[in-house]
């Protein structure tokens, strides 16, 4: 027996231009905002479009961007990681302390720092999942603990609150190739972190949209009970996300360490919100289940351009935060407008 079905389409769909489907991607608003900010500063400042200028704001954006992409994945998966900023400091300090003070091999130190970061990420995931406490609170506690340990341990071991003499460590120059070098492309001095940023954004996008784990990330963020009920391994997915964020923290920690060849105990404190801002400007929902990696990368680009653009424009620096606030508001409003135009439900 078969139930006969007429699947003819009625006139209930007003229009369905393929462009519109594209316009409904989460990152479209951020793209428009990024273009607007780009044009604005290109037009109103001298240095913004010079090769040196471009490489400055690209570099600035890349450091925020790597973390923003990881944090965006986590946010799509329904969680926050407020310890992400401090983590960049922790990993840098670990490498700094064990190499400059205890003479450990640099490669070993890098692996050690990564291992510690991943362990902390796993611990975050574990506490969040086993207790059911909101990750906002759990990772806030982690943040405080890392912040305290960064300071106290560094002081205890080195006697001061910053790592000195990093560039005298054997192997520093080799490691710098991966983390702190730059190379010319079309007249631009491109820092290697920009390569990392683009590569990670591409990878994250692929994973999110084209793989099973990516599908699960949306599911656990959108409706965790439903995801569990259809058999998604919720714990594993969240564990992976927290560890990814921690791993990204390690990467950024290394990029900073090898760029300025010093790291301070306060490194990264307060940056965690910038990552969240980038992700949200890029179209991620704070409540989870919706967003994109490219969007977060664009959010970071907006932030980096605004941050450096304000300096290029030579506006009174005391107003910096006020300008940033205004731009944040503007970016999310443009984002909203574009999405509404595209007929999305916000």
């Amino acid at each position: 027996m078969t139930v006969v079905v007429e699947a003819e389409f009625t006139d209930r769909l007003k229009r369905s231009h393929p462009l519109l489907t594209l316009l409904r991607r989460p990152e479209v608003g951020a793209l428009v905002a990024a273009v607007a900010i780009f044009l604005f500063f290109s037009f109103f400042t001298q240095a913004f479009l010079t090769p040196a200028g471009v490489s400055t704001w690209l570099y600035s954006a890349s450091l925020f961007g790597i973390m923003a992409v990881a944090v965006a994945l986590l946010m799509i998966g329904g969680e926050f990681d407020l310890s992400a900023g401090a983590m960049t400091g922790t990993t840098g300090l670990i490498v700094g302390v064990v190499t400059t003070q205890w003479g450990l091999n640099l490669a070993l130190a890098l692996v050690l720092a990564l291992a510690v970061a991943l362990a902390i990420g796993a611990a975050n995931a574990f506490v969040v999942m086993k207790t059911g406490l909101p990750s906002f609170i759990v990772t806030l506690a982690t943040f405080f603990i890392l912040q305290g340990c960064n300071l106290a341990v560094t002081k205890l071991v080195t006697g001061s609150v910053a790592i000195q003499g990093m560039n005298a460590v054997p192997g520093f120059q080799q490691a710098k190739v991966f983390f702190g070098s730059s190379f010319p492309v079309l007249g631009l001095e491109v820092k290697v972190s920009i390569v990392w940023w683009i590569a990670l954004t591409a990878l994250a996008t692929w994973v999110l949209l084209r793989t099973r784990p990516g599908n699960w990330v949306f599911a656990v963020g959108g409706e965790v009970t439903s995801a569990r009920q259809v058999g998604v391994p919720v714990f594993r997915v969240k564990l992976g996300l927290f560890m990814t964020t921690a791993g990204a923290g390690w990467l950024v920690g290394m990029l900073q360490l090898f760029d300025v060849s010093t790291v301070q105990a306060t490194t990264g404190v307060g940056q965690e919100f910038i990552y969240i801002i980038c992700a949200v400007v890029g179209g991620c929902l704070l409540t989870g289940g919706y967003g994109s990696a490219i969007g977060a990368a664009l959010g970071a680009l907006i932030y980096g351009m605004a941050l450096q653009g304000i300096v290029f424009a030579q506006w009174d620096n005391n107003w910096l935060k006020a300008f940033l606030g205004g731009m944040l508001l503007l970016a999310v409003l443009v984002n909203l407008l574009v999405r509404r135009q595209a007929g999305m439900r916000s």
């Binding site: 027996m1 079905v5 084209r210 409706e223 439903s226 995801a227 569990r228 259809v230 058999g231 289940g289």
Partner: protein, 264 residues
């Protein structure tokens, strides 16, 4: 259609099972079973514990008393995954869909089709889209766009997706919690025919409904719950539709009611 004198070997069986949510005893001392090619209807008032019963079978909540046997072995499901892996597919009353995700991603969630291997293993989106469209069309739902978020579908459309999914994936047992409640006459008919077909293919079906007219035609056994306790587990031969309705309604007031409605 009359129950065979020897019942099939039970696939899922519970004995004196019970569950408490904090201070509330939602279920206690219930025993029942379902075999291959059998439909077990669970009937009962609101709050009788039907959803709780099937959540135990589906692995959504572990039971707090009694024993649960799946394929002859004692189990205590801690995670729906465990039940799913045994071939037990469930449609929950609250549907278990992710509102913001496209219909096709919801359909295949947790059992995605992939192409390629190793690091290149990726979702086979085209095939999943096509399958989703096809399976829904078979239920009489023609979606304009399987890419729209499932949250924008009407209640009944959403239910149809959940049912189509469970039937598509249900390997040994399909559990349905009030699948027809939000459905139109046509769709409800389709669901009932699905149940009959699943049964005929040798699957065990656990079917919860408030509508005796939906339950009686397809059911082989009827488990009646009231306030968390079992009123009995009847074979179809042991009970008529009117007795069943009367038991469910808790008395004979129904007749009076029918008259009442017409009076002005």
């Amino acid at each position: 259609m009359t129950p065979a004198p020897s019942r099939p070997e039970p696939i899922l069986e519970v004995r004196d099972i019970g569950k408490a949510y904090g201070a509330v005893r939602a279920l206690q001392g219930v025993s029942a079973s379902v075999g291959a090619g059998e439909v077990l209807c669970v009937l009962g008032d609101n709050g009788a514990g039907k959803s709780t019963f099937i959540k135990i079978l589906a692995g959504a909540h572990p039971h707090s008393e009694g024993t649960l046997l799946a394929f002859g072995a004692e189990r205590r499901f801690m995670h729906p995954r465990e039940a799913l892996d045994l071939g037990i597919a469930t449609v929950y009353q609250d549907l278990a869909v992710v509102g913001l995700m496209p219909v096709w991603r919801n359909f295949f969630l947790g059992a995605e089709l992939t192409r390629g291997r190793g690091p290149l293993r990726r979702l086979d989106a085209a095939r999943m889209r096509a399958t989703t469209k096809h399976e829904l069309a078979r239920m009489g739902i023609d979606l304009r766009d399987v890419d729209q978020p499932i949250g924008t579908l009407s209640g009944g459309e959403r239910q149809s997706v959940a049912i189509a999914r469970a039937v598509y994936f249900g390997a040994k047992v399909v559990i349905l919690d009030e699948p027809t409640s939000a459905l139109g006459v046509k769709q409800a008919g389709v669901v009932l025919s699905y149940i009959a077909r699943a049964r005929d293919r040798g699957l065990g079906v656990v079917f919860i409904t408030h509508n005796p007219h939906h339950a009686y035609p397809v059911g082989d056994r009827f488990l009646l719950l009231q306030r968390g306790r079992s009123l009995g587990d009847f074979a179809k031969s042991e009970i008529t539709i009117d007795e069943m309705t009367a038991l469910m309604a808790g008395g004979a007031e129904l007749e009076a009611l029918a008259h009442e409605l017409e009076r002005r």
